[in-house]
């Protein structure tokens, strides 16, 4: 804590916090921003997460600071969110209900995905949180399945099936939005 900086040992602690954890500020913000979908909220989440990280830095045993920090960011986001939106129903995610979309192997179902940024961003923001976090960690943060499992506290199998679902949803949304756009053009 701040008062500890008067002790050389704790000054070292603070230095090592800045060396170990602070470099992952961008990673923390990226995850928080995609979870919160709002700049101000994301900043609050990261600020709170960094304080928690600093407070519990003594319990960090030097494995992977990025994974450790991202897990804190995720927990902080969900705890702040449940506190803030007591009225909003807690988003429970039923893995069974979100079974893989039954994609008919028709030619237009495999319409080439339009990868325009805005559609991609909107599609990503529309994913439910449990799917969004795995795809953001995988594609933007380039975490391995094992790292994602550590961050989210899920089994690797769950990570794998959620990633599959996330990608199928994205693909479905992108191909439907592009066909919609095409229909628009025709009219």
């Amino acid at each position: 804590m701040p008062s500890d900086i008067h002790h050389p040992a704790a000054a070292f602690n603070r230095t090592s916090f800045e060396a170990c954890v602070v470099p992952y500020l961008d990673a923390a913000y990226n995850l928080a921003r995609w979870l919160a979908r709002d700049d101000t909220d994301a900043q609050d989440v990261v600020q709170e997460s960094m304080l928690r990280a600093f407070r519990y830095f003594h319990s960090f045993h030097g494995d992977d600071a990025r994974v450790w920090l991202l897990a804190i960011v995720r927990n902080t986001f969900y705890s702040l969110r449940s506190k803030a939106a007591a009225d909003a129903k807690h988003e429970t995610f039923d893995d069974e209900a979100h079974t893989l979309i039954d994609e008919a192997p028709s030619p237009e179902a495999r319409a080439l995905i339009s990868v325009d940024i805005q559609a991609l961003q909107a599609a990503l923001e529309n994913l439910p949180h449990p799917l969004r976090e795995v795809i953001v960690l995988r594609e933007l943060e380039e975490c391995s399945y094992k790292e994602i499992a550590n961050i989210t506290g899920q089994k690797i199998g769950t990570v794998m099936s959620r990633l599959a679902r996330a990608r199928e949803r994205l693909k479905a949304e992108l191909s439907s939005s592009s066909t919609e756009a095409r229909r628009h053009d025709v009219r």
Binding site: P2, A19, L25, Q43, V115
Partner: protein
């Protein structure tokens, strides 16, 4: 391999998470199944799109400034992997010397600020602790006439209590706390969604100097008046905290409430 399995595994294959045997199996399946091969191609394209589309959100400068202190030590040590080892070594030695020379200065400079900054540090720690769930308030009331008597018998002094709702800082409660091993009164005020903790305890000397301290987004202002030392801590910005302090000090000019 059936398509059902492949639909899951091709993602793991795309992510390079399969072992050799499984990779061979999925490749064979895709050679035989155009439908799975096509969706694999689509997901590859999706990944490429996500990589290209600059979806990565970088931390804004305000956040970066809060957490990256301008420190001469340890922050800039580029890995010396050139072939010019002697030069690198010489630089390293120079760097080490600089650290050795600079470190004691840095340590003494934090020491020199002494008592005042120590109080601010402790108050900020306490403020952060108070933000923990169930930790903020012992007595919840917006009424100063409830908060003040609540402290009676719990402290060896009578704290100054005032509601500043008129100035935009409503009183929301009070708490007993400990700073530097002594019991202090903590009043809790709100500023919009932010919390301000105001700590106070009696002191023997009246030192009129007002000191402002910052730490990672928190501001602390301390002052002494009428043999009472005050520390206000919050994450509201400095000017708002000053406004709060002025509002509180204004009141202490008028006769204290009985």
């Amino acid at each position: 391999m059936m398509c059902d399995d492949a639909r899951l595994l091709l993602h793991a294959y795309l992510d390079n998470e399969l072992d050799a045997a499984q990779s061979v199996a999925i490749v064979r399946h895709m050679q035989a199944c155009p439908s799975c091969a096509a969706s694999y191609a689509d997901y590859g394209q999706l990944r490429e799109g996500m990589g290209r589309a600059s979806l990565y959100r970088r931390a804004p400068d305000t956040l970066r400034k809060t957490w990256q202190t301008e420190k001469p030590v340890a922050s800039t040590t580029p890995p010396a992997r050139t072939r010019r080892a002697p030069l690198a070594l010489a630089m390293a030695a120079g760097f080490a010397a600089a650290v050795i020379i600079a470190t004691p200065l840095w340590l003494t400079s934090t020491h020199r600020t002494g008592d005042a900054s120590q109080w601010a540090d402790e108050a900020i720690s306490s403020h952060i602790r108070s933000m923990q769930p169930q930790h903020l308030m012992d007595v919840v009331s917006t009424d100063q006439h409830t908060v003040k008597p609540w402290f009676d018998g719990k402290l060896d002094f009578s704290p100054r209590v005032k509601d500043l709702a008129g100035e935009g800082f409503p009183l929301v409660g009070g708490r007993l706390d400990a700073l530097g091993g002594r019991s202090v009164a903590a009043l809790i005020f709100k500023r919009h969604l932010h919390i301000i903790n105001l700590y106070q305890w009696p002191v023997s000397s009246d030192d009129a100097v007002q000191i402002t301290t910052q730490w990672h987004g928190y501001n602390a202002i301390q002052w002494t008046t009428g043999h009472m030392h005050f520390v206000a801590v919050s994450n509201v910005n400095e000017s708002e905290l000053h406004e709060f302090v002025l509002a509180f000090q204004n009141d202490s000019v008028t006769p204290p409430m009985r």
